[in-house]
Symmetry: C2
Subunit: 227 residues, 2 copies
DNA sequence: TTCATCCCATGACATTTGTCATGACTTAAC
DNA sequence: GTTAAGTCATGACAAATGTCATGGGATGAA
């Protein structure tokens, strides 16, 4: 069962998990999996972030399975360190936390996928498959929640569905600075124009976006995807 | 093949598509599909938004397949009218447009799913299945794009990953007004306090969010999901 | 050419926003 | 009871933001 068809070299994975029991369970699952005619080999196991990092740099595995609830520093910091390092392994988070906030944090920290520990048996193969195709994996209900949230927040359609708020190139430049939270002074320096000019552009932006303050302009710009 | 096991009543669908050729093709596909032991029946076909709307109100179908490129008014307006009406049919958009902006617009307008016409044969069944389970369907590569975008925009982690920016209740109230684009004066009126107090709260918010202006506070609040 | 229009740029002035110092009130600790 | 810490509230003053009027170029139509 293990070495069924090894014409292609196996997918190398690194397991980061401090619960020995769970780790063994995952390793067991991996033994039975096959990703597009490719078997999976566990090239290393770590129980601490530091150890995981050094093993990752040493083996540069194709994939890392990362537990979120490590005893010493959680998986988030590890994910960020991996981002900063030159290691380009794919990362799949295994977590007991089902709250959105945890998932958001993991994704922000650069994870390629997230699977609840309670659903590892059902979803792990699918997740690995998805991730190794350069895609992002989330449990279906979580993904749906993501999109629903998007639907709720992005309510306003530009000008009752008309033209997409034709801003002049310069105005667009200014708007981009604006939504970064820049002050008139900073915008002026960045665009090499005087503060007075910045203000004039901003006033014009207000007109076109039908708002009356820079704060309203920012929320409008975000809602209308003008940035 | 059509009526294989009709113990449950078929899934009623309404087809909104002005290209006769394509419509026939889709109908043909649907005849062969089966969603969880449920066959699919097309209870109506429309080629104009107005017609679609009246048919929808008449039949209240379980699912509507909506073409984006209708000759008279596009599918977006139809989607919004459906939202406003009491019709609670699920909606799946079939579109030739593969640009993100179109997909975003469709989702904002309340679509439950989006499939490229070029991929209907491969994805339609999967999409319908997903949608009828109260989930959202997007082509895998599009969904991934969504998440990657999220990863890029939501970069700032609250306080270098510490506590989630403990705002006092009152400060939270003020922040909520702030991200709506309200002025100090408006916030004061809304919360029944003086402008001076609003300013004080805002200053404290700046401290806790580590920003120096209301515009920065807004972008920070949005990035950190504080609203 | 002349005229109209649009974008970009600027300064003077009014308004809003942000800082700082201050005080009342509540809660928990000593 | 006193002290300390935290929230909410306010006014005076400094700094920024926003409005208005104005002018120089570039483009296109009459």
């Amino acid at each position: 069962m293990l070495t069924q068809s090894e014409q292609t070299k196996p997918l190398s994975t690194l397991l980061v998990e401090d619960d020995l029991h769970f780790r063994a369970g995952v390793r067991n699952l991996l033994d039975f999996y096959q990703i597009q005619n490719q078997t999976i080999s566990v090239v290393g196991e770590a129980n601490r972030p530091a150890m995981a990092l050094s093993l990752a740099e040493q083996h540069t595995p194709d994939l890392m399975l990362i537990d979120m609830e490590l005893s010493e520093g959680n998986g988030l910091t590890l994910l960020q360190q991996l981002q900063d390092s030159h290691v380009s392994s794919k990362t799949l988070v295994l977590s007991g936390h089902q709250e959105d906030s945890w998932i958001y944090k993991a994704m922000q920290a650069g994870a390629d996928g997230y699977v609840f520990k309670s659903q590892v048996a059902e979803q792990l193969l699918d997740a690995i498959n998805t991730i190794m195709q350069d895609r992002v994996y989330l449990p279906p209900e979580v993904a749906t929640g993501f999109f629903r949230k998007f639907q709720k927040t992005q309510t306003a359609l530009p000008n009752q569905m008309g033209e997409p708020c034709e801003l002049s190139p310069r105005e667009h430049d200014v708007l981009c600075c604006l939504v970064q939270g820049a002050s008139n002074d900073e915008i002026a320096k960045q665009l090499y124009i005087s503060v007075a000019t910045v203000k004039a552009h901003i006033t014009n932006i207000f007109l076109k976006l039908q708002v009356t303050s820079r704060t309203q302009a920012i929320v409008a710009a975000i809602k209308m995807n003008l940035v």
